[in-house]
Symmetry: C2
Subunit: 195 residues, 2 copies
DNA sequence: AGCATGCTTGACACCGCTGTCAAACTTGAC
DNA sequence: GTCAAGTTTGACAGCGGTGTCAAGCATGCT
């Protein structure tokens, strides 16, 4: 193809994701992105038109890998273990990096006040997809009976609770506290075994 | 006093609080604050030295009124009613304004990446104080027996959960969903009555 | 009334950000 | 080899932000 793009798009989006994740949307400038990716600022504008459009592309990458790994963690036969490995993944994910990066979607949702509606929509879609993944897991045969709430309520409560964990991470930066909060929710959500 | 301050400090801090709360720390400029308070930018710098220092003062006002109202809501004899009125207050508080303002401490904690450590400390202190208020309520005689968790765990879980509610509010802007999440947590935390 | 103290005011310096643009360049198609 | 399409590059315009400062000014003490 004539006039071909000279940078590796996947690699560039990955690096941009890292930076957005670490610094948040508003605190990341196009110059920062140019420095981190090695692609000139002008080229980024040429390829993606604006910072917001680039961010939306990056958010797509994030969503894909994030949801896939989440589903993978959830996909254990034992319900309790599935939830444990889910929280394990989520906590590890936000505790990565120095300083820890937290959660990209939450940082964006809470940190940005008046933004292109498309970003807010994209984040809502992501949360909906997470909720749907949980619901699917809880709807498998024999699972609902082990829960103290209906599958729908349990899924939503977990989405809410994990968003809370993100905030706790930002404020306390304390692994143990997060794991303890996760364990408590699991304890409340799964019925004790009948003898 | 010679060279007395010419603006009403309480009133100014109140207006600044409103603006910070509505727009978030980083998205509020000193010019915005000057416009909103009617106090010249230079006077604000003269009185508070920097945007961060002013914000810390404002956060003090916020903390005081917020915690007081929270304690008030919690101070009902029936445990379930106390929790219900607490969530009621919290949800109403963040659903105020157009567009709704959310939660100042959470917005600040999550939205600001690399800030004066004193702001992060101030927010941690605030969450600790909220937790302590809950703990105090749960430690009154006859209360612990009604909970499915220890008072300490219950208090922390509520702090986490309410932070999650804040994020859900930002993303969905849906009262009903928030109230439903609050009810679910109450349901899980309070033991069903024994016949 | 006079005065010093400290507040107010508006201009200023400086910085970093977004987005634009024309010129130079690269590349695959023919 | 030539060409045209699309990309890269660096400069530029424009904006809004923080923080500073000197000059002007109000105020209550003496």
């Amino acid at each position: 193809m004539v006039g071909a793009r000279q940078f590796d798009e996947d690699e560039t989006l990955d690096k941009a994701l890292s930076l957005f994740w670490q610094q948040g949307f508003s605190q990341t400038s196009m110059q920062d992105l140019a420095d981190a990716t090695g692609v000139q600022r002008g080229s980024l504008y040429n390829a993606y038109r604006s910072k917001e459009a680039l961010f939306l592309r990056v958010l797509g990458v994030y969503r894909e890998t994030y949801v896939r790994k989440m589903r993978q963690a959830l996909d254990r036969p034992e319900l309790r273990e599935a939830l444990q490995s889910l929280f394990d993944f989520l906590i590890k994910s936000m505790r990565t990096g120095v300083p820890t990066r937290g959660c990209l979607s939450t940082k964006t949702a809470v940190g940005v006040e008046e933004l292109d509606a498309s970003i807010r929509t994209a984040i809502r879609d992501l949360l909906d997809e997470i909720e749907a993944s949980l619901l699917e897991r809880f709807s498998r045969p024999g699972q609902a009976e082990q829960l103290t709430l209906s599958p729908v309520d349990a899924a939503r409560l977990i989405v809410t609770h994990t968003r809370g964990l993100v905030v706790i991470e930002r404020v306390y930066r304390d692994d143990q506290r997060m794991r303890s909060m996760a364990d408590l929710l699991i304890q409340l959500l799964i019925k004790p075994l009948k003898p």
